[in-house]
């Protein structure tokens, strides 16, 4: 309650702040520059390159040549490619949906388990990442193919007489995608379920809500940020993953990612591949914009 002390306090604070500012400037530089250089070299330059190439023409031996043209883009506006985009979106949507339905209980159980088990369970989700995803996809092929583990097992049990065709169709691609993308759904879901206060669930119970009512009215709305983030993290990579449709879908399923890969490696039409990449990226940005809009709206509503 001494006036001099009160007067001193802000002055001290100001001094400290200016001191801190000086220190932070160095820190900022040291942390930002490596990231900046990394992003320019490995992200921005390739992006500019792809963008530039998309306006060139394919030369006779699969190289890049003049004239500059917009034809690569106009070629894309063909029902064939629209269908590819549509199928890609539908498959990515189903992948997201399956990941959500499978991942939610997963994340819930982990987030609600005793603290000492949580890290172990989370680790178990992440452990498969330590193996190359290509190898894990081959493992699925071993399981699903006609003479694969599942068919052999079912045949020997006598449950089926003909081997099931589990591989090289759209559901095989879906299985592969869901398997690969599941952790990306579980982790953000876990983060938002873990943050959910237990007292809110108790309050809901206390007010007479049956378990499913509590889930529907409290748990689900309060974990939407996790659901949205997880969906975005699953949906967007699912659009672009090409090796899973390649390996598990046979030649039947062409998705946008495969299409791009084919243009670069098989057809050797880099300009068209680049233009397709740019279009996929624009599509991705649209989805991200929608995501930001939705989450902003939610925050906005809370403020009104």
């Amino acid at each position: 309650m001494n006036p001099p002390v009160l007067d001193n306090a802000p002055a001290n604070q100001l001094q400290n702040e200016t001191k801190l500012k000086h220190q932070i400037d160095y820190g900022k530089a040291w942390t930002i520059w490596p990231v900046f250089i990394w992003m320019v070299l490995l992200f921005l330059l390739p992006m500019i390159l792809v963008f530039a190439v998309s306006f060139f023409s394919r030369s006779s031996f699969g190289g890049i040549g003049f004239p500059l043209t917009l034809e690569n883009y106009s070629r894309f506006f063909d029902p064939l490619y629209f269908k590819i985009i549509w199928i890609s979106c539908v498959l990515a949507f189903y992948t997201t949906l399956c990941c959500l339905v499978l991942g939610y209980p997963f994340a819930y159980i982990i987030a609600r388990s005793p603290t000492q088990y949580r890290n172990i369970l989370l680790l178990l989700i992440i452990v498969p990442f330590w193996t190359n995803s290509l190898i894990r996809t081959y493992a699925w092929i071993v399981l699903l193919r006609t003479e694969g583990v599942i068919n052999t097992f079912l045949l020997q049990l006598g449950l089926i007489e003909q081997p099931l065709s589990l591989l090289y169709n759209e559901s095989a691609v879906l299985i592969g995608l869901v398997y690969t993308m599941l952790p990306f759904m579980v982790l953000p879901l876990y983060a938002s379920i873990e943050k959910l206060e237990r007292s809110l669930l108790e309050a809901s119970k206390d007010l007479g809500a049956k378990p499913w009512q509590t889930f529907w009215r409290v748990t689900l709305p309060l974990t939407t940020p996790g659901i949205l983030a997880g969906s975005l993290l699953v949906f967007i990579p699912s659009l672009g993953l090409f090796f899973i449709p390649d390996l598990m879908g046979g030649s039947k399923t062409i998705l946008i990612g495969n299409h791009i890969k084919n243009q670069f490696l098989t057809a050797r039409d880099w300009p068209f591949g680049s233009a397709s990449s740019i279009i996929l990226m624009i599509l991705t940005l649209v989805f991200i914009a929608v995501y930001i809009k939705i989450t902003k709206d939610k925050q906005g509503k809370e403020l009104v």
């Binding site: 206060e197 809110l200 108790e202 119970k205 206390d206 007479g208 409290v218 809370e302 403020l303």
Partner: protein, 358 residues
């Protein structure tokens, strides 16, 4: 007060190897304001949570309005809770928070609207219906939490330290408001607090808990004037405790020897040579520079060691010749003309002392 609302029978709650509530039996009347009072970790909140249905008793029974409910889930019990942290749903407006209980019970729309409005009016927050919890002040959140519980017309309202997060002034105001609300609605309140002053001002009856045991149940006056254990005497208000041994007893008085001094105390159900503790409230004792010749007074001799100014009253600390400190309360405008180090006498009526054995 007509009949029993809550009956707790031999409740025991163990977490692992730790027993948090030990053989607790308690009857709560209809329309009563009962407070469970005790230090943190005494089991009061666990007891409340068992009534609410958030914890299953390890053994024992809970009866609510004549029906056993200890096997029912929380959402099936006709009680509502006001949580310590309020636990308002952050994604819902004040109105939707209050309406929550009625909506999950599928009450017709018009009725919900009417009852929610009434409940908001009851806590004087009609104008804040559209606000989200993070746009409300602590006191307003508190009221919404109360409205959200009361709108369901519970048989019992359970309050878990609901005023703990409020500042002193607001807390006093909410104490009065809660008490009025309870009188006005006639709902049974079970209130948990560690604040003895809160318990004394609000309750019809107080149950004092310590280390899982219910030490004493009684009206605030009984608890304050006639504590039955050392713990209760020490926990509720300030008390001087004198330990001694019973020397003689008759039907009116005990003579207790405390550190070589004979102290007269009111008769109690104790045997000769039993060790007892005499509790004397600071405000029941009088300080004097001269020894009294009144044989009826208890009189101890000591030295003034400290005076602590507390506004209208002053706490005067006297070190007795036995070395024990004794706190007396003086009116600040009628202080004894004595300075630190002066000899003086502490005096009180024998029947103002309370004899406790445990």
């Amino acid at each position: 007060m007509s009949g029993l609302m809550v009956k707790l029978q031999h409740l025991v709650k163990q977490f692992g190897t730790q027993t948090v509530v030990q053989d607790l039996s308690l009857d709560i009347e209809k329309g009563e304001f009962l407070t469970l009072l005790g230090p943190s970790g005494c089991g009061k909140t666990t007891t409340l949570r068992m009534i609410a249905g958030f914890e299953q008793p390890t053994s024992g029974e809970i009866m609510l309005d004549g029906q056993y409910v200890h096997n029912l889930a929380a959402y099936q019990r006709d009680v509502n809770t006001v949580f310590q942290s309020y636990a308002l749903f952050p994604h819902l407006t004040a109105y939707d928070n209050v309406a929550f209980g009625l909506r999950v019970k599928k009450v017709p729309k018009q009725e919900i609207e009417k009852r929610v409005k009434d409940a908001l009016r009851l806590v004087q927050l009609e104008d804040y219906a559209r606000r989200k919890p993070d746009q409300l002040s602590g006191g307003q959140r508190q009221r919404i939490a109360i409205a959200r519980a009361l709108v369901n017309n519970p048989k019992v309202l359970l309050l878990d330290e609901p005023l703990g997060a409020l500042d002193q002034k607001l807390r006093k105001q909410m104490q009065v408001e809660l008490k009025h609300l309870q009188k006005q609605l006639g709902i049974t309140f079970v209130f948990v607090t560690h604040d003895q002053e809160e318990a004394l001002t609000m309750s019809d009856r107080i149950g004092v808990m310590n280390q899982g045991f219910l030490e004493q149940v009684g009206t605030p006056a009984e608890i304050y004037e006639r504590p039955s254990t050392k713990f209760v005497a020490g926990f509720i208000g300030e008390t001087n405790l004198l330990h001694g041994t019973v020397r003689t007893r008759d039907h009116q008085h005990l003579l207790v020897e405390c550190e070589g001094v004979q102290v007269k105390a009111p008769s109690a159900n104790v045997a000769e040579n039993e060790s007892v503790t005499i509790a004397i409230r600071p405000e029941k004792s009088v300080l004097s520079l001269e020894p009294s010749h009144n044989e009826q007074l208890v009189q101890l001799n000591g030295r003034l060691t400290e005076r602590i100014y507390c506004g209208g009253s002053t706490r005067t600390i006297v070190t007795l010749h036995s070395g024990q400190t004794f706190v007396a309360l003086e009116k600040t405008d009628q202080l004894l003309p004595a300075a630190v180090g002066d000899e003086l006498f502490v005096q009180w009526q024998p029947n103002h002392g309370v004899v406790v054995t445990r």
